[in-house]
Symmetry: C2
Subunit: 217 residues, 2 copies
């Protein structure tokens, strides 16, 4: 397993549920966690609510400071944000965990993405970064719940840069209970992002916080 | 759990690996299994190799006879075959388990499908049938292996007809070790089909026969 000891982690959109949940778990694991938001003030509030030494700041500032940057913003603002951070993210591992979903009366469904997936969109914008897709299926509720010691989930990690996917698999395993499992190349990210719609359907039918485990691995 | 006792099951494309593996497990569970193929003779050979009372015949004949019809043909011939069987499949539960995938040097990838997914294509063609999507991720190797007593897999079952998805969940559970888990509406079938490409990548990386389990359900 790749050694990720000492890596600092920024989370763009870290004031949202998914981002805040990840920030909390990485901070608990002892990592320097920088929560990013359009508003530095709201980022600092979110960091304060997490504790464990997490700090907050404007997206550009935390992106420039951190070793690894997780993108957990709503899909609507995804492309524009990344376009504005090309310089700050150059040379870094950027972990996209955005799920492009729409919602209507029948529940969630996958939105079409011109580049194929949010992760491929990130790679198209961030040509100087090492884009990895991961953390799509984490339950924010479970990540935030102090009573949940172990999260019963395999995080599928996708990308075309082996060293980068190995690093992100190791980051995933900072969350107790979680395994990081290589899930394929970036061109196969769409279905992993879109599968979140199915998990939402499962959650509704079974009153669950469903996750996935990969068998025989 | 819905009672599926006594239901006869036809498998179109039952001479292929996935179809034959499913046929074998349903026959072992005591169901009447009818293997379909373009060639009745090849279907009969496949049925003979499975044993447990499985019979073989031309696709149209087994489709007409069975209570439930599983579609396990290659994607290339999928639409044309279903168009030719509209009458035979009318009123029946039709279980589509086709994965529209392409392959190149980098492995498997999802093919675009005009209707959104193979299952939605089936529903568009078979307007008088009750189309359900399921069995995409079963490993033919594990289904065929006499040494594999239990298959460690949740079968995601998708569809818009609750009674039909309940029936197919129960059929999935005829395979020892398997759970049938409702996975959402048919409009969310694409990503379940496409995820087979990721499982192929996982199999290659980990030398595994990977499947999925849904946690907290």
């Amino acid at each position: 397993m790749t050694d990720v000891n000492g890596l600092s982690i920024a989370i763009l959109g870290g004031t949202g549920d998914q981002g805040k949940g990840l920030a909390r778990r990485f901070a608990l694991a002892g990592h320097t966690v920088l929560i990013g938001s359009r508003s530095a003030e709201r980022a600092q509030e979110a960091a304060g609510s997490i504790g464990s030494g997490a700090r907050g700041g404007a997206n550009a500032d935390v992106a420039a400071e951190a070793d690894v940057v997780i993108v957990a913003v709503p899909y609507e603002g995804h492309k524009a944000l990344l376009e504005s951070l090309r310089a700050e993210l150059a040379g870094k591992i950027v972990v996209d965990c955005v799920n492009p979903l729409g919602f209507d009366k029948q529940g969630a469904y996958a939105l079409p993405v011109e580049e194929g997936s949010a992760a491929q969109q990130a790679a198209a914008v961030l040509t100087e970064s090492r884009v990895v897709a991961a953390f799509h299926h984490v339950s924010a509720v479970l990540l935030m719940d102090p009573a949940v010691e172990k999260v019963d989930l395999d995080v599928l990690v996708l990308g075309d840069d082996r060293e980068a996917t190995d690093t992100v698999q190791a980051l995933a395993e900072l969350i107790p209970g979680v395994r990081g499992v290589y899930g394929g190349r970036l061109r196969n990210a769409h279905q992993v992002e879109a599968l979140t719609a199915n998990l939402i359907s499962i959650n509704r039918r079974y009153k669950a916080h469903a996750g996935l485990r990969v068998t025989d691995v």
